[in-house]
Symmetry: C2
Subunit: 628 residues, 2 copies
């Protein structure tokens, strides 16, 4: 069999080649990009290996035996093992690159690792960047004149740390006031604080999902992995526009607007941080790290970076890999030297929220070929499995956010979220069981699907004549009427029947908006399937991300052609995966590294410069025809 | 010959062993600690080797041929050279460790390196941490969607940089406003700014000598190495005490004092920075780095660190290696992301000013055995050569600063700086040619030496009887009188002769103060000589550092026993070596690294816990007897 005949030969080459590792005992087989360390490969797949230094090669505890495929010993291995052990394949997992397929024997764990379940059923072994260490230090003397900082760092010699000026400022007084019994607070490789006594039990982080519309904060106890408080709020930037494009435009029109938008992002984050801390009775000074997942525009603005180049061709990010940021740089008043992990974007329209979402859904580690769709004004689509990932962004327009729909609204109280139609009746489910006030994205999809299925909308998306409607669905014909010059379908009469203007209705133009959105999204995933040489039937799971995904009826999404034609049980609402990814980053430096690695592993397919995009888009405008 | 018989076998082992490198053509032979790179060894000795990356192994320009003693090729060498070249001994100088004696051939320079003379006649090849690079970048397109930051960093691929948030914030607007013709501002490995157009000519640094009494600022043009403005001011902390101990005590008595002292240090530095920039018409925003050399107490306070542990046994520093600091952390308003290099201290009483002074005087590179003495309230003494260095601190007390001397004053206008005595007359030289107002340290030494030489003070330091004085020095006997119960010698009558209280005079207690100071210092260098197994005659040069050193009469310093008995021409005033060291750190990252390396190479000899210190101190109290 030549390479060209290999079963996967038609698949796109994205990122480095993959290798298979078989972990024993247990027989777990994992597939990872060649070149990651055995330690990372295990950790990313929830397989515990002893370590206290977190993979820096200093604690020498992550001993494994590589039975088959052992690599050249590293300089650290040579010091850690005897020549006999080296010959038998013993290596430090953190220094052994997975260069080729191998079998790895893991000794029984000395310490059972703590783990938490986050994301889409992901088991994450706790290894936060935040570490607290209680130290009982000897007092200095003329025979031991080490500086205060050296005294502390010498007691942490399994880590290679540098100190923050803040820690050096407080160290002297704290050491002497606490009789040299202190807790060192470390984030990554930085000593950020020294506290009197044993404060190791108090260690928190806040995960933020910074959405254009809604911002969610989760306070995590980093020592247990447990969320202890959650709060959400509307993004205070709302007055500057409902979507990213209007906010970018606002910043372009008036140079002073960027500063205001940044301040509003900060005040939203700060208020939520205060709220979750108050709810859980946690001192904000015990929050040592925050993580932020948002789209590229929200992330740029929160960091005080002009988003204008994101909004105009050729759609350029200020930076993919973001610089080191403090929580204070984002206006969040927690520990003064707390760090901020900001999820990096792939591109202007596939942002850090998607990086976080892919991490949370394990797209890069699952053997199944899956399609990840985050539906919104901008729709991000990722197709792939642990061997390859393709991503694109489709300009869906504002149909699903409600903005361009005449009676549209966000998925909030009063929004019609489910519409069920028969030829005789329309039944509605309304969020909060309230009087219907408008139509949210999932209701829109249901309503249009119902009308297409009953034949009241033809396959080009046009309302049929009143006569045809009366024949097809006698009980609904009265709802198909006009408002001014436009044809509309009334979903719910508010006030007197016949007073169309005061009812909740669907217009011909609304249908067109949905057609455009659906066509853009369907073109996006079709192009990705084609790039991968796959058909819709090859997709083993469709993950619908975000709040829209949780409301959408999978059946109707398939009927409308919004998602590929796969069996309905394969369509799964993944929930707020961006927020889950942010939590994972706080709970594990390994997961954080995996999130960064995604930037290299995902190949981005740009739609806007494809010659065939418009043709294919027009092909997708039509609705499928239903047999009844 | 056994090791014990080798000529240097009695010398103290301090720091790593040394190796000899012979650079060809030119035949310069240098001796450096084993393990430093060939590039550093050359650079520290003013020998130029091509390089643009500054020794990171990325530019691959520092090609040298190691004729004899070639080391194993590094992984970078293997990519940079052909197997034939490797066999011939070609290596990258920045990756080749000087492990043993070797001959190094340096190809002719492609670019003639700029150099400046600073310190005690040191030729420094310019390689500031601050680098500006003018970039002409391509505009982005749909085919080239690299982020703004990637576009800039790709054009700087001979450096391995990370970006500061500030640079990412400004990059987008600057790139677009300047048609992608920009200047990148880099400090060390951090991109701190992006500026429109070509601003490479504007690059400045400020070197600060932060003294307890006086603070000096020098504005340096980093592109030429030229000082463009100098200013000095009294340290605004003066109201809290004249010396470090009184300032530490002030901070101990009232916890709010530390904040005030820090603020006063900052305001002194800030005012001087503003002054030198205004004088040279330099925009403070074009100052990208500052360097600070000061004693441990001044440095701690300037960084906002409690100095209390420095002032009480066992004399503990907050940190030897200080954390990364911004100019803003020291209150200096220059470029908002400018860095600060703070010279690290050896110990509580051998501070960063001494580190800087040793660097400037080249103590660690000179073949001659030299004695470095910085006389002040605390006297720092370093003995050694390029093979070994010993340091100690002697508690000289405030005699030389004028504080404990009845008519004492700082070396300022009106201070008697030189006193010449014959049996018949006293002649004085006064700073600023003014009416004498008091006696500074050098005048004190002269006066006491003169009195001892004439026999008016006996070898125990007591004034002789009036009768004996009249016999020995008839013309001066009228000056030896009493004030209250104390015997005094009048140096200059102010107002009417006979009105002792209004004259400038020397008291018996003043003589005692000088005896104590002299005994402490002499005990210090004697103990160092003994540790090194050397005699005074082995000292080839005595360097007197600081302003006191420039006023002191070398002859009298020898006569009094303050410095070892060496021929007077070997005693050299080294001037403000702390400030010179700070300049060197700004002009060359190599010199900065050499300054850090000193911390490892100097062995500190603690006097306060030596059982024999008091005995030896008492031995040194006596004055030498003179033959006329």
């Amino acid at each position: 069999m030549t390479a060209a005949e290999a079963p996967d030969a038609h698949l796109p080459a994205a990122g480095p080649p993959r290798v298979d590792l078989l972990f024993e005992p247990g027989g777990r087989r994992v597939r990872v990009p060649a070149g990651v360390t055995v330690f990372d490969a295990a950790s990313w797949n929830g397989i515990g290996i002893d370590s206290t230094c977190g993979g820096h090669g200093t604690c020498k505890k992550c001993r494994v035996r590589i039975v088959d495929g052992a690599a050249t010993p590293s300089s650290v291995d040579i010091r850690a093992f005897s020549p006999d052990e080296l010959r038998l394949g013993w290596r430090l997992a953190c220094r052994a690159d997975a260069a080729s397929d191998a079998v790895v024997e893991v000794p029984p764990l000395v310490t059972r690792p703590k783990a938490a379940t986050v994301g889409v059923g992901r088991r994450v072994i706790l290894r936060p960047a935040v570490q607290k260490r209680y130290l009982e230090l000897g007092e200095p003397s003329l025979a031991d004149q080490r500086s205060d900082l050296e005294r502390i760092l010498d007691a942490l010699d399994d880590l290679e740390l540098r100190a923050d000026l803040h820690a050096v400022r407080v160290a002297g007084r704290v050491l002497r006031a606490a009789d040299y019994l202190v807790t060192a607070v470390i984030v990554d490789d930085v000593l950020i604080d020294v506290q009197p006594g044993d404060t190791t039990a108090l260690s928190y982080g806040i995960a933020f999902d910074l959405g254009t519309t809604t911002v969610v904060a989760t306070l995590l106890d980093l020592s247990t992995g447990t969320p202890v408080a959650v709060a959400s709020a509307l993004n205070a930037q709302q007055p500057f526009g409902a979507d990213v494009i209007t906010r970018i435009s606002a910043a372009m029109l008036d140079p002073s607007t960027l500063g205001k938008l940044t301040e509003l992002a900060h005040s939203t984050l700060a208020a939520l941080a205060a709220e979750v801390c108050a709810e859980a009775r946690v001192d904000p000074a015990d929050v040592y790290e925050i993580a932020l997942a948002g789209n590229a525009t929200m992330t740029h603005i929160a960091l005080g970076i002009d988003p204008e180049p994101l909004g105009v061709a050729p759609f350029i990010l200020a930076a993919r890999l973001l610089p080191e940021v403090l929580a204070a740089d984002l206006g969040v008043a927690v520990h003064p030297r707390a760090r901020a992990v900001v999820f990096p974007p792939f591109g202007a329209y596939v942002g850090g929220d998607i990086t976080a979402g892919l991490l949370a859904s394990g797209m890069d580690r699952d053997a199944r070929t899956r399609l990840f769709i985050d539906i919104g004004t901008n729709c991000e689509i990722v197709l792939g499995n642990r061997d390859w990932l393709l991503a694109t962004a489709a300009p869906a327009g504002p149909a699903f956010e409600g903005a361009a729909i005449r009676c549209g609204m966000r998925a909030a109280e009063g929004a019609i979220e489910v519409v069920t139609m028969t030829p005789d009746s329309v039944s509605l489910r309304v969020i909060g069981d309230a009087e219907p006030a408008g139509l949210c994205g999932s209701g829109l999809v249901d309503a249009v699907t119902g009308l297409v299925r009953l034949g009241l909308l033809d396959s080009t998306g046009r309302f049929v004549s009143v006569e045809a409607a009366a024949a097809l669905a006698p009980g609904l014909a009265g709802r198909l009427t006009t408002l001014g010059e436009e044809r509309v379908f009334v979903l719910h009469w508010l006030g007197e029947q016949g007073d169309v203007a005061r009812s909740v209705y669907l217009t011909q133009r609304d249908v067109r908006e949905l057609q455009f959105a659906k066509a853009a999204i369907a073109t996006g995933w079709r192009i990705l399937l084609e790039e991968a040489g796959l058909a819709a039937g090859d997709i083993q799971q469709v993950l619908l991300a975000g709040s829209f995904g949780s409301y959408l009826s999978p059946g109707n999404a398939v009927r409308l052609g919004l998602v590929p034609d796969v069996p309905v049980p394969r369509i799964v609402s993944a929930g707020n995966v961006a927020g889950e990814g942010a939590k994972m980053a706080l709970l594990s430096v390994r997961e954080r590294a995996a999130g960064l690695a995604l930037l290299e592993e995902v190949r981005y397919v740009e739609l806007s410069d494809r010659a065939d995009f418009n043709d294919r888009f027009i092909d997708q405008l039509a609705f499928p025809s239903f047999a009844g």
